[in-house]
Symmetry: C2
């Protein structure tokens, strides 16, 4: 299960570049993840153009971390542009923040994914200290999924352990950031997120096929070993 | 010292509405704060149009909370649009996150402001528990300022106490969110941030003058009482 992150932006003409990548791999992958660099460059209207005829998973990874009213307002705009999944930080807490976001997303039929750990070292300074509380919060808010970094597989394992089987685990960091395809899924993730390895390739379709094949081989291996 | 937050967006034509507010109050206030709802609606190019001839404090309040490379990339784009101050979350930590953001901002001559507490109740669930660590981090990163909510004056006082006199304290929540003009400055803030009370008014200029006058009266009062 593969999700393509449309970053880093490779060309000045972001809309046409994104369209090319999307058309190149849309039939191979489960969905796409877009971030703040893309969104502030092309805005909601540009985003509509890129994904106007795409109906798969479209994740806005703005790592929302604001008060509830602001997050709800952002999600209303994103939803208009076809976004059907948003990523927010567990850190902002429930009351007056995530409770409002989740409420708004239910109305809009938008899935919520919470960041419970990140791939950079600084994640250990504050965020990782609250991992089990964040997972408890994610479960009690009944969100669709959580993010845990493929670059630290022990965290992915722990997240799956704490989250049980119902919650989806999305794992970025495959490819250019160092993790091998399949390793996060073997550690308990549902989806692996790949950016640069595919988006910076001169042939995204071929590269996506390669990642999928590596992922498949690895997953077969680890399933075999159980 | 007053900063106007350009939210919530009041009209469909966001660029012209923003320009009207900016022209109406620019000579009265220290600066403007723009948020994610505005930025994703009009993009970097729209932002340039609104602020093309403004040279005061222009704060992008995206509450950045990502890995360092992504935050640095966003700041490069914002800086092109005339933004000279960015707000990021202290909780993402230093290593691989805020260290890179601060480094990039130094190159671009952009000021960094860290969120160390927020106005919603959920801020107490995780964020507020780290208030003194966040202030220590802000001081050691030598950032320009921090955000503390005018709706909780005890937090503003504590932030000033921990931060000493060098660091700027920006305090949102004045007006529609309930705090009276001048109260945050009396508690130790440098700037009060007002949104709706001014931006939703049919006469932003008159409203800004009213807020400034109330602020002045209140500050005079509290200075007198010391």
């Amino acid at each position: 299960m593969l999700i393509v992150a449309l970053d880093p932006l490779q060309k000045e003409d972001v809309i046409n570049w994104s369209k090319e990548v999307v058309y190149g791999v849309r039939n191979l992958v489960t969905g796409f993840k877009i971030g703040m660099p893309l969104l502030i460059k092309v805005g909601i209207s540009g985003c509509k153009k890129i994904f106007c005829d795409y109906s798969g998973l479209l994740i806005a990874d703005l790592k929302l971390a604001d008060i509830g009213d602001i997050m709800a307002s952002v999600v209303r705009d994103l939803s208009e542009a076809g976004v059907n999944t948003v990523i927010a930080h567990a850190f902002v807490g429930r009351s007056g923040a995530l409770d409002k976001l989740v409420g708004e997303c239910e109305k809009l039929d938008v899935k919520v994914v919470l960041v419970v750990s990140m791939s950079h070292r600084g994640s250990e300074e504050f965020i990782d200290k609250h991992l089990s509380d964040f997972m408890e919060l994610a479960l009690s808010l009944n969100v669709w999924g959580v993010v845990a970094p493929a670059t630290r597989l022990s965290v992915v394992r722990r997240v799956r352990e704490l989250g049980g089987s119902r919650i989806k685990v999305l794992s970025p960091g495959i490819g250019a950031q160092g993790a091998q395809p399949g390793t996060a899924i073997c550690a308990g993730a549902d989806y692996e997120i790949v950016g640069r390895a595919i988006t910076a390739s001169s042939n995204p379709t071929a590269e996506a096929l390669k990642v999928l094949s590596e992922q498949g081989r690895k997953v077969k291996e680890c399933l075999g070993s159980h």
